[in-house]
Structures are given as C-alpha cells and as structure tokens.
Subunit: 308 residues, 2 copies
C-alpha cells in the first residue's frame, strides 16, 4: 500500500506508522518513496497528483483519506475494476456535528449581534425565536449525526436526501427535489452535508437561495462546489440567507482577492469542521486492507454510479 | 395574585393574560394597579421594589418569575411562613443548554481565532483538542440538561454539586469542595449553573481560578455574584482561564466604565442565556396557584435553609 498525500506529510507519516503497527506483514510506503510499483495493490489518497495512479498496474483499491471521494471518481486514471472507498474515521461525524451546532446556535442566539453590542458598550437584551427549524441536506452517516445533535437542542429538524430511506427519530425526513423546494422557505438554518456528485454540484444556486427564508443561515460543511459563489453573494445582499458559515469554498485556500474574506455576511473557516485523525483512519483503512485480502465486502465502498 | 415586575411591563401583561385565561375565577393584577391589598394571597415577582411585599398581610406564596429566587430570600419582608417558589418554565433549561453549547463549542473549535484569521485574510487550518472535558457546576434541573447536551457532543463531562445525588447517564458526578478542587485542573471548560446561596456567592475567586487549566474557558450563566470580578480579570491576564463568557455580571446593566466591556478575554451577553416565556411561565404559576388553593405540595418550592 502506498500513501499519496502531497502537502500533508505529517499525517501521511502517522498513518503509515499506524498501518504498519496494525498490519506487520504489509509493506507500507509514503509517496514518492515506495518499493516496486507493480506490487502496489492499494493506495490511500488525499488530492494525489493527476496521472500518478496510472503507474500501479496491480491496483485493486483506492481509499480516500477522508469522508469525500469525489477527487477519486473524477480521476480517469482509476480503472472501473478498482474499488473506491471513503474513510469515515471514528469521531468525524461527531466533530462535524459539533461545528454545525456551533454555527447554528450562534445564529439563533444572535451572538454576533451581542458581540457588536459589546464592542459599542451597549447592554441590550435581544430575544430569540421561540421556534426554530433546521434543514439538513444529506442524511448519510454525517447528516444523521448532525441532525440528531440539532434535534437534541429542541430544534425542529428536517432531513433531506435524494431518496426515501430509514426514518431517523426526532427528524422529519424528506426526499426528492419537490420536497426540498417546499422545505426551504420554512428553514431558519440550512446545513449542507451532501456528498459532491453530478446531481449535487451547484445545487445551492440562485433559485435555491431565492427560496430561503429571510434572515436565515446557510452552513456549508460539505464541498465548495455545492455553492454557486456569485449567486450566494447576491443572495446575502437580499438577506436570504442573512449569513453564511462556510468551512469549504470552491478554491482552497481561498484566493486573497475573493470577496468572502471581508464580507460581513460570511464566516469562513479553512476546512476544519472535521479533521480525520490518522490513528482513527488507520483503524478503518487497515480493516479495509484485510477485507480486500480476504475477499470480503469493503467498508464505505463508493457506488461509482451514484458518486457516494 | 399581583404581578410585580418593574421595567418588564410587556412580559407582566402577557403573564397576567395567561393567568386569567387559565384561572378565570382568580383576580390577577399588575403592580402598581390591583384590588384590595388584604385579599392578595400570592405575588409573582421579578426584582420587586424593596418593602413592597410588606403591604400584603394575607400573603401565602411568592413566585419568582424565573429560575432564581435569591432576590426573594434576601428580602426580609418575605415572612417565614410564606412559600417561595421558582418558576422553571418549559424550555428554560433547554435554552440555557443551547447557550452553554454555543459558548463551549466556539472555544473548543477555536472559532474566535478563525474569525481573526479571516479578518487578516489568512487561510490557516488549526487543529482542535481530540479530548475535551467540561465541568458543570450545579447539577440541578438546569445543570443536568446542559451536562447532557455537552456529553452528546462527545465531550467528557464532570458534574459537580454540593452533595451526592442520583447519577446522570453520560456524566461523571462529583460532590463536595475537595472534589471540586481536584476536578478544576482537568476541565477545558467550566460552566457555572449554580443557584446563588451564601455557600456559592464569590465561589469563583482567586483560589478557584488559580486551579483552572491554562487555556480553558469559564462560562457563567448563573448569577454575577458567583464571580469575584477583579479576581477574574487578574486570572485572564494569566490565561487561566483564557476566556470567559459571561451572561451575568454583578451589576446589571454592566456600568459603562467596567473593564469587561472591551477586555479581549471576555465575551459578554446581557442576561439572555434563557428567557422565561410568559406563556410557559403562566402554565407553571397557574399550576402552583391551584396547588396552593388545594393545599397540595408546590412545584419548585425553595428550601429557605439551603437557598434553592
């Protein structure tokens, strides 16, 4: 197995150590240093350089170092017979939920306004809405945990996904585009936790944003390409949404001249809503390497048709 | 029943309406306008003017419009035979928990630092601690809900109270002063949800703060008099705690010249962590008025010895 994570050498090193400890008889290399290319059967990738996967003729599995795998599906060098798996490390969904809860509660409780009052030395009690509805887009492993965390605060929670699935207690589950259009005007906060697929890219565009509730909040903790950024800037000017909390943007790092940096309606964090811990990732990836060897079903294998 | 809430006339009016609707045969007045003083058997108070309760010879119950009743216990005009009750309206504990979660998650996830980075146009991913311990002071009706909400985020939660009580799932419960002194150095966030009593006033003083963990957070959503404010200012200079989120202060509104206003280590909100909804309060108070009439045990009656 070769780990290819350019720019994240420290994490790659910790992951390699973790895999070696768990699988003593497996050779683990960190790109660009490893043994014979034709003996490589698995790759762990985080933004691997284009074309690099073509050099492994015996490749059988590519694991994303993270919960998203769109960078692997978009690489034409991953042959159809190669399994693509996501790595949903323990704690990842919980950390995402904590970030979502921080963003939503800050908006509901008007904490930005209170901080502005403090700077102006104004003691001004402000009420907060008695009822509050969150709409969670994407009810996969990540979305369900965030939806439950919001419901535990007493919020009404709507959970939207592509197709009907198992019910989630405390969450009102919706499916399909017409249900999304109906739900948007009711949501005080919309939280994007979708996988990035051809169907979900650019979903949050002018027509989506125009249906949002005045004064509402948009939280994106999925991928920058879910949001049409110029449309969001226009929508913020109209107060629908009033504020956006973005952990992801289309180009990361965000270019220095981008209007998000100093837009008063945008809170920006540098893709830190949930960090994959190399030790926890080693657990999941070692398990999948064992399964690959034994011919067992893989964990979190991506359906390449659906894109997640 | 007479409602005495100077400065909060709108809420007093809504509460009066709510009580009249629920108890059509009870006369409900809003101070300073009401019928015969010697027919008043119950008062609802929020910071009533000193001495005003002396004018009601038939008084049997005083209800605080809120979860704290220290202002009633400290009023020598409330005779020993008069029952003092708190009003813990539905949703109050939940709203407090939401505020606590907002304050603690913001600190753990370094969102203040990320916002500073954004103002400087810096894309700088910052890691967050893998393990996190919250210490909740006061495990009454309020504390238990906040402790559970923090535990649901995956935090380790210690719950401290005066004396040993029923266990709370997911919370490591402690009792007594020696256990508090032991727990303080382990807590990444300390959340004060104590009642204000002679035993808890000034609890958060120099010696308490000196035991806090470097870099930690103090959240006070109880009463300003729990905290020795000069000691807190000194402690913030030493980074123990690193930050304080204060919804309550010793003098409210905070005087214009107070150093909290522009201290970088203090986030201040104007006593809004949980607002008592007059409709929900009317439910609880009407229930207690019925119980008083029927000679049944009152809800949330205060033990005047303990102070809560």
């Amino acid at each position: 197995v070769v780990i290819i994570m350019p720019g994240r050498e420290a994490e790659a090193g910790r992951l390699a150590e973790g895999l070696r400890r768990r699988l003593p008889s497996t050779a683990v290399g960190v790109w660009p240093e490893y043994g014979a290319a034709d003996e490589v059967t698995a790759v762990v990738s985080w933004r691997h350089p284009p074309g690099v996967l073509e050099g492994f003729p015996a490749l059988r599995m590519v694991a994303s170092f993270g919960a998203g795998a769109e960078h692997l599906l978009e690489d034409a060098a991953v042959p159809a017979g190669v399994a693509v798996v996501r790595t949903v490390a323990d704690g990842l969904a919980r950390d995402l939920a904590e970030y979502v809860v921080a963003a939503v509660t800050r908006h509901r409780r008007r904490l930005r306004e209170h901080e502005r009052d403090q700077r102006r030395r104004r003691w001004r009690p402000r009420t907060y809405p008695a009822r509050w509805t969150d709409l969670v887009l994407g009810m996969g492993r990540m979305g369900v945990v965030s939806a439950r965390a919001l419901a535990a605060l007493g919020h009404e929670v709507l959970g939207w996904r592509r197709s009907v699935a198992a019910p989630v207690s405390g969450v009102n589950c919706l499916a399909g585009m017409p249900a999304l259009a109906d739900a948007l005007p009711d949501a005080d906060a919309v939280v994007c936790l979708l996988p990035l697929t051809p169907a979900t890219g650019d979903l949050i565009d002018e027509s989506f944003l125009a249906r949002m509730k005045p004064g509402s909040l948009l939280v994106n903790v999925a991928r920058g390409r879910h949001v049409v950024e110029d449309d969001l800037l226009d929508a913020l000017d109209r107060g629908r949404p009033k504020h956006a909390v973005l952990d992801v943007v289309r180009t990361e790092p965000l270019p220095p001249e981008h209007p998000f940096w100093d837009h008063p309606g945008v809170t920006l964090t540098p893709h830190v809503a949930a960090l994959t811990d190399p030790e926890a990732a080693a657990d999941r990836i070692a398990d999948n390497l064992r399964r690959l060897d034994a011919g067992e079903p893989l964990l979190d294998e991506v359906d390449r048709e659906l894109g997640y």
